[in-house]
Amino acid sequence: MQNEQLVKDLQAILGSAKVLSEKLDLLSYSYDSSFMARNNRFVPDVVITPTSTEEVSKVMKYAFNNNISVTPRGAGSGETCGSLAIQGGIVMDLATWDTIEEIDAENMQVQMRPGVIHAELNKRLAEYGLFFPPDPGSSQMCTVGGMVANNSSGLRAVKYGTTEQYVLGLEVVLPNGEVIVTGGVNCRAIKNVSGLNLTKLFVGSEGTLGIITKIRLRLWPKPKARGILMAVFNDLEQAPQAVLDVYKGGILPSGIEILDSSAIKAVNEYKPDINLPNAEAILLYELDGNPASVKWEGEEVSRIVGLLAANVEWSTDPQRMSELWQGRAVTATAAARVREDGSRIFAGEDISIPLNKVTESLKKIKEIGKKYGIGVVNYGHIGDGNVHTAPVINPEDPEEVKLGAALADEIHLLAIAMGGVTTGEHGVGAVRSQYARKEHGAALDVMQSIKRTLDPKNIMNPGKLLPEEGNKHGTSTSSGS
């Protein structure tokens, strides 16, 4: 179909203000944070910004009838090209649809539209003494819709788990335009085992099965107290032991994060006020709960970790805690600071490893980096084995780009070989579908048949999550990372 006709038809459905077709707008939707998007131009044919279920449904019916692919998009903070129209078609920007419809404090639930920003939601919930615990490093920018679609988590997954644990129900517009509700959107029960768990099917489906238009989340009481312990290690290998020792001591921190020496450097350059000590590794433990238990746990963790660490700092001062935690939260991007002409790339950045293999994986990643001559900043959620790595290259040097892609591939294969997975939270998108067969075996066929049932014409975010059917090796046709 000609673009002009497509634009006209969509304007007839949505009105012209919600249809973006100027070249510069389309270009602005050709990237997310991924390395792959940096090296390719995935320009959509048109971008739309619907703000009602009815609008989304009409558009999907239209797309279904005319065989046009549709890619949902939140804030585009994803790392895997998930929100890019790699096969052209419509990008549906849901970030403008950002209403919190109801905070049901008595039933500890909230209902909202997909575009609500994570940090904004928690700001609003704080007024009720409640919170939505998953806490991605992209909290200030990512949408709750994007989080649900990606099953995102982050700094506090150790204790609070991932998004899926909080989704009570969803409203979803299927590829053919039909609107369904799953789980508890129309009921207020917190416990619900009625029927096949369709909610879980859509959580983490990365926009390949339908558009999430309404979300009901269960909430938790916001803990009354919080403390952060910083442990400094002169030997990287001691850090993972200090994680296990705390668990053995019967304490479950809300977060345990690691920064290696280059991550420490990056943070200090970004925000000198934070002033982290130079060391081989720093562990940050976050403890939360009621004031008495946080106090006791802080002392106990200090004692346990103090046996291994060179230095331990325990703080309950809001200013210092926010500095330390913010320091960790910005490492992802601040990594670029370690090399003057370099940029951090989001490639091979999100493997998840068995807890007892974290040290080994960190060492091996350093070795892989050395092999390719690429500096790699290591940080991540060590408490649950979700290791983030930040290769720093000059992304405008074609040689380094190739090396970066090869390095990412090696890190992914390392994860699988160590009994881990290629992604702990950032998702599969277009960049990791090539590992799907290796990771899932025959289960991949089941996934593909579910996809066929719900999306027989393969118009819903094609080219993501699952490798093209018929490709027995599961190799992705896309390139770049």
Binding site: S28, A75, G76, T96, M141, T333, E340, D341, S343, R344
Partner: protein
């Protein structure tokens, strides 16, 4: 300077990881909401232009114009990308190619040297007293600023009868023993719209052992030119201004205008000079915002009289808080003054949407940003609004007017001056 050579573009562009953190703090994005208006889109478009993937067109210029240069994004970017500098570089690049004579004419008419400012004042004054038609017939100047004269009309603060520079001596001696010779950069807007503020600045400085040198032949600081893509004029004016202060042998340069001081401190020097001219290098590190200078470098005279009790709130100009990190100093000054009660507004450091000529070219967008600010001011219940930038003062004054709120807008230094005068009055009485 060609786009490729601008240091921000050449060395920093590649560091953008497109994380979108800048989106979360951009006032323009907050209103427009789609990615095309996000700071990272500016970075991306700059990259495409640098690489020749995108030509210099009116569409690109329109995109580049949708930025307040408020630096909210640049301050927060974890990769250290100065997005505002890229926008400026883009505007300059587009300006070079399009040779936008309209804007050039406007900038040369209104803000360049004192004579041009005098002409502009005359024109504005007749405009304000005789109405749009006659002015447009006479000159056509305002028509060049904005397509929508009605709106532009409302935005411009009343021009004072006399420009400040007419009433301020070139050298004002220190009242006590002279400790320092201060160069006062009297910016165009303070000069034309807020002459009392300028006199109060000199009064407070001289009352604190400063000799104040206020040159009569200054040019504009160049910010409006840089913001409109005319880097050459900005560079020439900057050179001219620094030479005057250099020749006059001042120890420091201060300004009561946030935009002037941030410009003088070198926010965009990378784009103006391959190598910093000697006169400018000499002053590096010796240019201050007035509030900061008074707090950090002057042993402030504490002889302050009691003013009638008044509740004030303070708006942080972007060019102070994000560019210079000056936030506590103006508040310290206000808190010193007996009778003044400072109440904080929500989001005091959020942009007011003025940004010089931006509010004229994008009135409706600017107005939305402004309306949020006015609501925050109203919520404080303050009787007087304070800020440290004449451009913000104009924009906020306009907002207050539109909302029929009777608050006046002042610089903290005006309270200090009044308190000194009050102290003198009470001594006379007693």
């Amino acid at each position: 300077m060609a786009l490729q050579q601008v240091p921000a573009v050449k060395d920093l562009l590649r560091k953008c990881v497109r994380c979108g953190k800048c989106r979360s703090v951009c006032p323009i994005f907050k209103e427009i909401k789609n990615e095309g208006a996000a700071p990272r889109a500016h970075v991306f478009l700059t990259q495409l232009m640098r690489d020749g993937e995108l030509g210099a067109t009116a569409d690109v210029a329109e995109r580049a114009s949708r930025c307040l240069l408020c630096k909210s994004c640049s301050k927060e970017c974890p990769s250290g990308i100065p997005v505002d500098q890229m926008v400026v570089a883009m505007r300059h690049h587009l300006h070079d190619l399009n040779n936008d004579t309209t804007k050039k004419l406007m900038l040369n008419h209104m803000f360049k040297d004192r004579k041009a400012l005098g002409r502009a004042r005359f024109l504005l004054q007749s405009y304000q007293s005789t109405g749009i038609k006659s002015l447009v017939q006479k000159t056509g100047v305002l028509g060049l600023v904005s397509k929508d004269l009605d709106k532009a009309n409302k935005l411009i603060a009343p021009v004072s009868g006399t420009m400040a520079s007419k009433n301020i001596p070139e050298t004002a001696p220190a009242k006590g023993k002279r400790k320092i010779r201060v160069g006062y950069f009297l910016g165009c807007a303070t000069n034309m719209f807020y002459p009392k503020r300028a006199r109060d600045t000199v009064e407070v400085l001289t009352a604190n052992n400063c000799e104040v040198f206020t040159p009569s032949d200054l040019h504009c600081c160049g910010m409006p030119h840089i913001a409109n893509g005319d880097a050459e004029s900005a560079a020439a004016m900057t050179r001219h201004n620094f030479k005057i202060f250099f020749d006059a042998g001042v120890d420091v340069i201060i300004s009561d205008c946030a935009s002037c001081s941030s410009m003088l401190q070198g926010d965009y020097y990378d784009q103006l000079f391959q190598e910093l001219p000697e006169e400018i290098a000499h002053f590096k590190g010796k240019i201050y915002d007035l509030n900061k200078f008074l707090i950090d470098h002057v042993d402030l005279n504490n002889d302050l009289g009691q003013l009638p009790a008044v509740k004030v709130t303070y708006h942080d100009p972007c060019h102070l808080v994000k560019s210079q990190g000056v936030t506590k100093e103006p508040r310290q000054l206000l808190n010193m003054v007996p009778g003044v009660e400072l109440v904080e507004m929500v989001g005091a450091d959020q942009c007011c949407g003025g940004a010089g000529t931006f509010s004229m070219g994008h009135y409706d967008l600017s107005r939305k940003i402004l309306d949020r600010k006015i609501q925050a001011i109203e919520d404080t219940g303050a009787e007087i609004l304070t800020t440290s930038c004449p451009a913000c003062s104009m924009q906020l004054g306009h907002g207050l007017n539109e909302h029929a709120m009777p608050l006046t807008v002042k610089h903290p230094v005006e309270f200090l001056a009044e308190a000194y005068r009050q102290a003198k009055r009470s001594t006379k009485i007693s």
